[in-house]
Subunit: 458 residues, 2 copies
Amino acid sequence: MDAAVLDYLERSRNRRLSQLLELVRFPSVSARQEYAADVAACAAWLRDHLERIGLEHARLLPTGGNPIVYADWLHAAGAPTVLIYGHYDVQPSDPDELWASPPFEPEIRDGRIVARGASDNKGQIFAALGAIEALLAVEGRLPCNVRVAIEGEEELSADNLKAFLADAARSGILAADLALVTDSTMLAEDAPGVAVALRGMAALQFCVRTATADLHSGVYGGAVPNALQALAEILVSLKDPATGRVRVEGFYDAVRPMPEEERRSWAQLPFDANALEAELGAALAGEQGFTSYERMWGRPALDVCGAWGGYQGEGLQTVIPAEARAKISCRLVPDQEPEAVLDLLERHLQARAPARATVSIDWRLAASRPIVLPVEHPGVQAALSAAREGFEREPLVFRAGFSVPVAELFRRFLGLDSVLLGFILPDENMHAPNEFIRVDVFERGVRTYAAFLREQAR
Amino acid sequence: MDAAVLDYLERSRNRRLSQLLELVRFPSVSARQEYAADVAACAAWLRDHLERIGLEHARLLPTGGNPIVYADWLHAAGAPTVLIYGHYDVQPSDPDELWASPPFEPEIRDGRIVARGASDNKGQIFAALGAIEALLAVEGRLPCNVRVAIEGEEELSADNLKAFLADAARSGILAADLALVTDSTMLAEDAPGVAVALRGMAALQFCVRTATADLHSGVYGGAVPNALQALAEILVSLKDPATGRVRVEGFYDAVRPMPEEERRSWAQLPFDANALEAELGAALAGEQGFTSYERMWGRPALDVCGAWGGYQGEGLQTVIPAEARAKISCRLVPDQEPEAVLDLLERHLQARAPARATVSIDWRLAASRPIVLPVEHPGVQAALSAAREGFEREPLVFRAGFSVPVAELFRRFLGLDSVLLGFILPDENMHAPNEFIRVDVFERGVRTYAAFLREQAR
């Protein structure tokens, strides 16, 4: 990294941190109507900040809900354009009484900023803005073209974002060569890295019915079917208890084998099974023949997320339940298609419904496709170089088992690959009380993002 | 039946019916504190009525809750003593808007009395009092000794009754040779009969745990166990889907075979499988090798009455549930012991808990022992003769699949056999809106009870 830029970053550090404190002080909770004014104030503050650091066309782009804060810098003729994504809305802070300090009154203590949004995602996106500020301040220009889009409903729903992206695909306002998604994690404090894949997700809820209404277990017990018993049989039919394999016919057909090189590299990643088991209070277990990383990142999964039927209150009501329900979610890997998996699952449920029970589907949700970038992808390689420079460590290539919906939406609506380069650590209490960010990780993040933008000019 | 008694019954019919209307007009809802005064007024009315018809020592016996209305007539030297049981409390009437007429404002319409409690149990016990009244009025004496005990918490809990019976066993206030339980049913309007057995009941609730807290299905899906999946495996282990047999080791060991003669007589009982399936919206199904009556009356049953885990609200939360619960009830037949069955069940749950899941028992309830009288029992034979006389039809011998707790408590605390002779019909909306009793069935009931008391003198 250029010494002038490093010098600028060093000198501007205190100001940058106090600005970040300003940013996390907004209680921009998108899920609660009473914070609407704070959400708007936060967006306005960010727009002003984008202008202040030298970006152009800073403005609020309207959506069906909270606006997207936008700015660009498009004067790097011949260089690619990077769309930098983050979000300014945060999760609710409750239960507030579990916070050691008020969730929207941050201070820097012991090298940490404790506040709702510090890690998810204000700290991450602000690190990227710090990089842009430094490059523009020192060099008067950026090494590549940049569009910044910071949304305000990531913690709420993607519905407004989808409509916005459909429009943007026509207007070109987010036209780019690559997206940089700052809303991403790393595996450990000393282990910067790039997530090259995200699992997709599909889910449904179904109902098993065995009678018109609950029946008295004294009168009819032993002579009529029981919806909960039927549900249990169906759930067991979904997954082999011995091998951990999903038994839905065709479920694995579209699964692309994991590249051997990635599997080998995962085997080298830090992983302490005993520590994880102690932390979760759970024994690690899953599909036979695969490691935990492989199960979480490279293999699809099927889980019952909720199920219920009959009497669930205190004590006992001696009913034979007439209906029972379950919610099933599937985590998908390339090249599984959410709708196709739901079709297979639905077919299985109908086929495996016990005699004397009828299954109906309450709803289906084809939430997101799995996405994956090859490690050789230039965006991935740029991110690895940048992380090596920013953290002064050899970076890791990993995957994530969950979805980052925006990455899939960028692909679907804008045709863009997303580089997932962020610095959220597993212990930072995302979505929980006492969320925090480490100041030194934040600063390394600023340097990493600066290096990433430079890499685009190569 | 003696012509004079029949004549008396005929002449007193209208007065008896208006007295029954008075009785069902009391909203004696034991489960609701706001009806406490009505419950007390109902008890006082009944005590006065017992005195009015010529019984002696009419009084309210205190319990831990609502009093027991008591009276006796003990001048039949050498004849046995019958303890006649009923209850004056009723179920709540709500939802009141589903009643065609107000639940506590009865009239006689189309040969029916529609009111809460008309069938369960005021109509039944009042029929027995009608029989006593007629015999005392016509003959100046009863053919046997009689104690009447009408309790006020049958719809609430047996706790106060148990304490009362423990005391009564010492004081002798309920000393008798046989109990007549009026709180009982018949199979069809033209089919009087006697229930010679009741199933017992034992239940428990257990919890399956696989982790300290719910886990994110994206992050961990495929790599950790799921409490709902483990629960489903346990529930399936309890019952063979193919044969309908309970798979808890030892569950059937204490089951006494059904007497072949009873099985043959059940095969002759009215039973319309198609009509019942249409009514329940359920296909009849159960343990292989047994008929529906055998499954409901002569075989034990195991049912999941409720189960739940994970997210049960609208839409989806992509959690891997850390815990799941189920309530299991067992209907027991002679000679299964509730505590012993719970021990077997608990052992099974522990033994069949999947690896990586822990099972804990939330609570156990050894509710009641099964009871059975041989058809040759003199009380049963007396009841059959009486029903034949009262209804002018050949009576049926049947069983009931549920518990009538008082019958088991009379056996446990007083050493008494109970004859279950009542006239509640399946369509009379017990515990539901528009409960009613047929006037002509009620009158036949009065004649039957009179005949039953006479039979005791033989």
